[in-house]
């Protein structure tokens, strides 16, 4: 059988679903292939979405018309804002998902889209024709012909699960891996690496002594990820709980290290530094007697409870001992054991900033196959790969995002310029223009672009334009309104700070502890929507810091705008270090800025390139 489609998406996780939906919104015919139709947009690890930098990615996906934000807003059991003691750039939402309901919500969106077909099949081989990927063959024997292909294979690519001394080939607990595809990618000339990630044991809700732990309550004010979700407080939420490991935990682990696949060398993949297994924590931080453990429900009607902080691949009997050594869990039942999974990834330095493979046109990669970790990172790459696959399939040029435009731009540039040797997770510290890349302005940064690209619908775009217009009007009104003597006197009294006549509302709002809503009440004006108040307030209060970052962006532009000739023969530049010669020749960065971010390219290599560019210019001018 043969199926023709514009965009073929392999995998139906967070990356695959966003990629398919974006391409479908852009008018492409999309075919999704998944190993199991029952397993769409699952959360095999932590049942939460958001947190610093990750929430920012969710907002960006939302600003580009993606589903993740709306889906979690509708299906969470607990939401709160993190970093509330800090400024707007690093405050971050985090929600605990109702795991099955979240998956159902995304699946519904995917299967009900008229442009999307979803099939259960496993890819065996990619079809290459003159340096382009033009389709694939599935395990069912079906031949798929596509204008562009997006691979989002997650941990399925060469997946191998470890639990204690046993290991077996699998993509996720209870699901088959994709083994043939790795060979097909290698045959196409791609370089693959191996990574590892782990998950924690799941406990039975009713076997836990909740009172023995510290309760973490959800928000009491309305919070949402999506600009398209109504800003209301959920009817029902659940708490999460905090407990700690004990000395007995440490003893149980250290006494059984010889049975850990990590420590006896069964696992070759590199694990993430930011998410070490519990055995890693005990060894690397031996001086610490106790570690925090978060106990998180997985849904309203779900018996499983997630044990955050206890990722492990130790044998099951040791997992029981570990769990029982923790206060509140002394009598807990393990429903599903923790395990480690190893999988193949494609070194992302082989990609363009559009997420297209450099030497295999029409093939796009997103998610864990690029060496990342996390649902949000996957979804963000997915939507961007989907946008570019749709453009490629319809004959348009692919697009890119800069580091100053989005966390997504930082993420992709980090991967493509620097590569990764561990599962890559987004942190706010990776974004040098952090104060510009906020949760609250994701739409300002991306929605206009998304509308041009066709992945943002007209109703979302109109709502955005309205919001911008009202915000701008309010901003100008604040600048142009000056206080009369009587009002200044009244303001002095009300705000408990000296206010001179002629002071503008803008200047008044700039002062600490004065809020826009207070000013509007003072003026006897009706309240504006919360989202608009927030936008205007941040713009006024942090104006100086934003300007500084704008200046930094402008300075960096000088390096980013310096294009390197695409035919530059690096091997002839003998003054470059040999490592720089090799890496530059292989990755062929487009600009000097990108070149500077490649590890192994030193500042003196950049100086050499600058000298060379200058000389080349001198030679070219008559």
């Amino acid at each position: 059988m043969e199926i023709k489609t514009d965009v073929l998406v392999v995998g139906a996780g967070h990356a695959g679903c966003e990629a398919a939906l974006a391409a479908a919104r852009m008018g492409c015919k999309v075919t999704i292939l998944t190993a199991s139709l029952q397993q769409v947009a699952r959360m095999p690890c932590n049942p939460s979405i958001g947190g610093p930098a990750k929430a920012h990615l969710v907002k960006e996906v939302d600003a580009l018309g993606g589903i993740m934000g709306q889906a979690i807003d509708e299906t969470h059991i607990h939401i709160r804002m993190l970093n509330t003691s800090k400024g707007p750039a690093v405050q971050a939402l985090r929600a605990q998902a109702d795991r099955p309901r979240y998956s159902e919500r995304v699946k519904l969106e995917v299967v009900s889209h008229p442009n999307i077909q979803i099939h259960q099949d496993l890819i065996q081989e990619l079809h290459r024709h003159q340096g382009e990927i033009v389709g694939a063959t599935g395990a069912t024997g079906t031949v798929y012909r596509s204008g562009a292909t997006v691979l989002t294979t997650g941990t399925f690519l060469g997946g191998l699960i470890h639990m204690g001394e046993t290991s077996f080939a699998a993509g996720r607990s209870g699901e088959p891996p994709a083994l043939a595809l790795s060979d097909s990618l290698r045959a196409c000339g791609l370089e693959l690496g191996r990574l590892k990630t782990g998950t924690t044991p799941r406990l039975h809700r009713d076997s836990i002594d909740w009172k023995a732990m510290e309760e973490q309550t959800p928000t009491e004010t309305p919070l949402v990820f999506s600009e398209r979700s109504p800003l209301t407080l959920p009817e029902r939420q659940l708490s999460c709980y905090l407990t700690r490991t004990t000395l007995a935990t440490k003893q149980a682990i250290l006494a059984n290290l010889h049975r850990s696949p990590m420590y006896i060398g069964l696992i070759e993949g590199t694990g993430p530094r930011y998410c070490p297994s519990i055995e890693d924590k005990m060894v690397r931080f031996g001086d610490k007697d106790t570690h925090q453990i978060f106990v998180e429900p997985e849904g309203f009607d779900v018996p499983e409870v997630y044990l955050q902080g206890v990722s492990t691949s130790l044998p099951l009997d040791v997992q029981w001992d570990i769990v029982h050594s923790i206060p509140g869990l002394e009598k807990a039942t393990i429903l599903r054991p923790g395990y480690a999974v190893e999988y193949d990834f494609v070194h992302p330095t082989q990609l363009q900033h559009s997420l297209e493979v450099t030497r295999l046109r029409r093939l796009f990669l997103a998610g864990q196959i690029n060496g990342t970790s996390g649902y949000e990172e996957a979804a963000a790459q997915g939507i961007f790969a989907g946008i570019n696959a749709a453009r490629r399939a319809s004959g348009a040029e692919t697009v890119e995002l800069g580091r100053e435009q989005a966390y997504l731009g930082v993420l992709i540039d980090d991967l493509v310029s620097r590569g990764t040797s561990e599962p890559y997770r987004m942190h706010t510290s990776r974004a040098e223009y952090r104060l510009l890349l906020r949760q609250d302005n994701a739409d300002e940064r991306l929605t206009e672009l998304g509308y041009q690209w066709g992945c943002v619908g007209s109703s979302q775009y109109r709502a955005f334009c309205d919001k911008q217009e009202v915000s701008q009007r309010e901003y100008e009104r604040l600048q142009n309104t000056r206080l009369k003597p009587a009002d200044a006197e009244r303001a002095t009294e009300l705000f408990k700070t000296p206010v001179k006549p002629g002071c503008s509302l803008y200047e008044l709002l700039k002062r600490p502890h004065i809020e826009l809503s207070q000013i509007r009440r003072f003026e006897a004006l009706e309240e504006l929507p919360q989202r608009i108040l927030e936008r205007v307030e941040i713009r006024v209060k942090y104006d100086g810091y934003m300007k500084r970052q704008d200046d930094e962006v402008a300075r960096a532009r000088r390096m980013e705008d310096r294009e390197l000739p695409s035919n530059l023969d690096y091997s002839a530049l003998r003054t470059l270090s040999s490592e720089a010669r090799e890496k530059l020749g292989k990755q062929r960065p487009r600009t000097l800025g990108q070149a500077a971010r490649i590890p192994g390219v030193s500042p003196s290599d950049i100086a050499t390139l600058l000298v060379h560019l200058k000389q080349a210019r001198l030679c070219n001018t008559p």
Partner: protein, 442 residues
């Protein structure tokens, strides 16, 4: 290719060639056929022109890449001294296809080839340009990386602090914020350290360039007498007529081992009618504003205290106030309310002996501890200033009580500035630190 020894008559002149063709050129210039050339060995023999005519008998050597100063193939010809001979050899090299090096090109190539870091490369340039022995000593200290290691120490401290802030931002659940008093302590330490580096650089500048010491005062207060007394010989014209010195005079002088450039100026008075004198006064003010050190001579016997306008300008700068003509008896205004003299009483007409100890002490204070003195390049100086500005702004952000991400903005700028002195990037380093310091992760 360039002549590597200074122009003029010397015992030896060295012509240096650098680049892939250097060994081939060397073979052509060396008039003797050798079956084997070894790197870093001296060979004796004739040095010949393109037509085979012998120019000189001398030593030649070849240094194989990358084991040379520039990191490239390097050849050197050691000739008998003399400009004409060296020029002939240079011409021969040109005929063979070599090109004259730009000034500093060998050092540039050494930098580009990773043989020197930026600070070291700059130190070499300075060393070459040093005029005095002490300046050369300071430059060579830079060459050994003394300055780099000082800067690196501060940078590491700031980087550690930054990693604490970044951990607090990205892992707020797990990492508590730094208490304000600890932040202030860290800030104070860093600010002081950078300030000290600037101070040491300032001292280095003084040692290498000398102190511009400007003598100011009202007409006929005794400025020119002072100049002559300090120099131990008449240099300035001294008369009874106020306003004799109309232009500035400059003379070098060594005090406490530091060279001073002594500048005598026209007397400053408010009511001068003479146009030439007015112009002189204008120059005096400019001189005073650019001075590293001011010596203010006042007539202590005069009934009126000196021009109050002048006080501020003098007291803002390192200065020495001399109350001249004490032999005639000092006027009451020369003492403050507690009866203490406001300056050093002296009688310049009888000599300047009493002045020396005070002047020496002041110069020593200005130069500081000689052991930590550094000579900074303009770029290093600017970058350090930028680091200090960032720390200044960080202090303000701390004071305003803003949160970690705002502190991080200034801190990152400071770390970047310090890193730029050595040419380093910050990104990954911070994450490495976070993960090696904290046990993080869920």
């Amino acid at each position: 290719m360039a002549v590597a020894t200074p122009p003029g008559e010397g015992g030896v002149a060295i012509v240096r060639l650098s680049g892939p063709l250097a060994p081939m050129l060397l073979k052509r210039l060396h008039g003797r056929v050798r079956p084997k050339w070894e790197s870093h060995k001296l060979y004796y023999g004739p040095i010949v022109q393109a037509d085979g005519q012998v120019l000189d008998q001398g030593l030649v050597t070849w240094m194989k890449a990358p084991h040379s100063y520039t990191g490239e193939e390097v050849a050197e010809l050691h000739l008998h001294g003399g400009q004409a001979l060296a020029q002939l050899v240079v011409q021969t090299c040109l005929i063979h296809g070599a090109r004259l090096a730009e000034p500093g090109e060998f050092t540039l190539r050494a930098f580009l080839n990773g043989k020197l870091d930026l600070t070291q490369a700059e130190a070499v340039q300075q060393l070459i340009q040093s005029r005095s022995q002490i300046a050369a000593q300071l430059a060579s200290r830079n060459l050994t990386g003394y300055f780099s290691s000082q800067v690196e120490g501060v940078r590491q401290d700031l980087l550690h602090w930054l990693s604490l802030l970044e951990a607090e931002i990205d892992f707020g659940d797990e990492v508590p914020g730094l208490p304000l008093d600890q932040s202030l302590q860290r800030w104070g330490r860093a600010y002081e350290a950078v300030d000290r580096l600037l101070q040491q650089g300032q001292s280095g500048k003084i040692l290498a360039d000398g102190l511009r010491t400007v003598i100011v005062g009202a007409p006929n207060a005794g400025k020119s007498t002072l100049m002559n007394a300090l120099l131990g010989r008449p240099r300035a014209l001294v008369t009874e007529i106020a306003g004799t010195t109309r232009d500035t005079l400059e003379e070098p002088l060594v005090v406490a081992g530091v060279s001073l450039l002594l500048v005598d100026t026209a007397g400053v008075r408010r009511d001068s009618q003479d146009l030439v004198e007015q112009m002189g006064i204008q120059r005096s003010r400019q001189e005073a504003e650019q001075a590293d050190l001011l010596i203010w001579v006042v007539d202590g016997h005069a009934t009126e205290p000196p021009d109050p306008d002048f006080y501020q300008m003098v007291f803002e700068r390192p200065h020495l106030l001399l109350l001249n003509k004490k032999d005639l008896g000092l006027a009451p205004w020369t003492a403050d309310d507690q009866g203490r003299l406001i300056g050093l009483p002296i009688s310049l007409a009888q000599g300047a002996d009493e002045l020396w100890p005070a002047l020496e002490q002041l110069v020593r204070e200005l130069v500081g501890e000689q052991s930590d003195v550094m000579r900074l390049t303009h770029r290093q100086w600017e970058t350090l200033l930028r680091a200090r500005d960032s720390l200044q702004s960080l202090g303000e952000t701390l004071e305003a009580g803003l949160s970690a991400e705002f502190l991080a903005l200034d801190l990152r700028a400071a770390v970047q500035a310090l890193g730029q002195i050595q040419g380093l990037d910050v990104g990954e380093e911070i994450l490495d630190r976070i993960f090696s310091t904290f046990c993080l992760g869920k």
